[in-house]
């Protein structure tokens, strides 16, 4: 998870490195730690460290980690030659390693040789059937070929064995959403919220999917989860604030003409959300305030 402080640190290091201020190694370490995808920058700065023999030997054992990081970044940037050279160096250092074998299979994947890559992963799995990352690569392989249904099938099979892998649950949810199978995606997000209840972004995604599904009950649950997102982010999540307003107006449209029992509570919540939104816009984007107020007027939620 990337917190606000870590994001600020990453941005600071990024501008520092971009302007030639040094600290490239720290930047690459932070990228690895936060697991953000900045392949282009990793390729440029990582390669410049690797090509400088003095800097490279200064890293000690970390050198090989950097080779792996640069190899994957090179694959992502389609710099096949660089990736091949990096993998060759690693192969020389660790001849029997499975981790290098995985990199070689990924090289096949980047070249578009799907059948060969599949064969390589299958042989890796034969040697070690519990290698989670290879299982996941297989899912990615199916996804890369556009075979989303196949990817979902692999992933479900994988999750039967490794149920605690929340990254896989997240991927499954995203795959289901890309196929517009929202009911299944809802299940995945429930699983994610159960395993990591303090991550507001899962609450938010769950609420988004429920809102997309529609229906009175779903909308009410969605609103609750938007509210819990606001609770977990200290009211700083604009999307959740908008979600509350949208849910309230959708619920009001659905229940129009019916009995008005629980009118008091929801009305208060939406007006609070609208006030928070207006305050936020006033502070950060004053010229868009008129847009916001017209939207809120359209939703019939007034602060």
């Amino acid at each position: 998870m990337v917190s606000k402080a870590e994001e600020a640190e990453l941005n600071r290091l990024e501008t520092q490195v971009d302007n030639g201020g040094g600290g490239a190694w720290d930047y690459l370490c932070l990228i690895r730690k936060l697991k953000v995808r900045r392949s282009h920058k990793v390729l440029n700065y990582g390669l410049s460290i690797l090509n400088d023999s003095r800097k490279r030997s200064g890293l000690g054992q970390e050198e090989w980690t950097l080779y792996e990081q640069v190899a994957i970044a090179a694959l992502d940037c389609q710099a096949i030659d660089v990736a091949k050279d990096c993998i060759k160096v690693l192969q020389k250092k660790f001849p029997q390693s499975k981790r290098v074998g995985r990199l070689e299979a990924m090289l096949l994947e980047a070249k578009g040789l799907w059948a060969e890559a599949e064969k390589a992963y299958a042989s890796l799995l034969e040697e070690n059937p519990c290698d989670q990352i290879v299982h996941k690569r297989r899912v990615a392989l199916a996804k890369a070929q556009g075979n989303i249904a196949g990817a979902i099938e692999w992933l479900n099979k994988y999750l039967e064995t490794f149920m605690a892998d929340h990254d896989a649950w997240r991927e499954l949810a995203e795959l289901y959403i890309s196929l517009q199978m929202y009911k299944q995606a809802v299940f995945c997000y429930e699983e994610l919220i159960l395993s990591q209840p303090t991550v507001p972004l899962f609450h938010l995604a769950y609420a988004d999917v429920l809102y997309t599904l529609g229906g009175l009950e779903n909308l009410q649950t969605a609103k609750k989860y938007y509210a819990s997102t606001i609770d977990l982010t200290g009211g700083k999540n604009t999307r959740a604030l908008f979600g509350i307003c949208l849910c309230t107006s959708a619920i009001a449209q659905l229940t129009r003409g019916r009995n008005k029992e629980d009118k008091e509570g929801p009305a208060e919540l939406q007006s609070l959300a609208a006030t928070a939104l207006e305050k936020d816009y006033k502070q950060r984007a004053p010229h868009k305030l008129s847009l916001l107020s017209s939207v809120l007027k359209g939703l019939k939620v007034s602060p």
Binding site: V2, N51, D76, D81, M106, R137, E171
Partner: protein, 106 residues
């Protein structure tokens, strides 16, 4: 750091002095052959003062405290990590012009 550190040293010195006075007081009692009923008043004052000073120093010298609340401004989660185990390479990035000078030179 400066002021807090000096205050901390001062607090520890006061505590040490309180210990020294207690030992002296007990040996005095032994000479006068009286029962020990409790520490003298100035030792008690020294102990409390030393406690307050060293506690204050211990809280300020090591640095600022970070919030542990998940909703605090610096702990707030703003983005999820990229799901890199499921990274796919045939994306639109391959249409960008390649840099020719990238090469591992050794």
């Amino acid at each position: 750091m400066g002021v807090g550190f000096v205050v901390g040293v001062f607090g520890v010195l006061i505590l040490a002095h309180a210990a020294y006075s207690t030992i002296q007081y007990r040996s005095l009692l032994k000479i006068m052959q009286e029962e020990f009923s409790g520490p003298p008043f100035h030792v008690a004052v020294e102990l409390i003062l030393g406690l307050v000073l060293s506690m204050w120093a211990a809280l300020t010298v090591p640095g600022k405290f970070h919030s542990i609340n998940p909703e605090a401004e610096e702990n707030r989660i703003v983005s999820l990590p990229a799901n890199q185990d499921f990274m796919v390479f045939n994306h639109r990035g391959r249409l960008f012009p390649k840099q020719a000078d990238l090469k591992l030179k050794h």
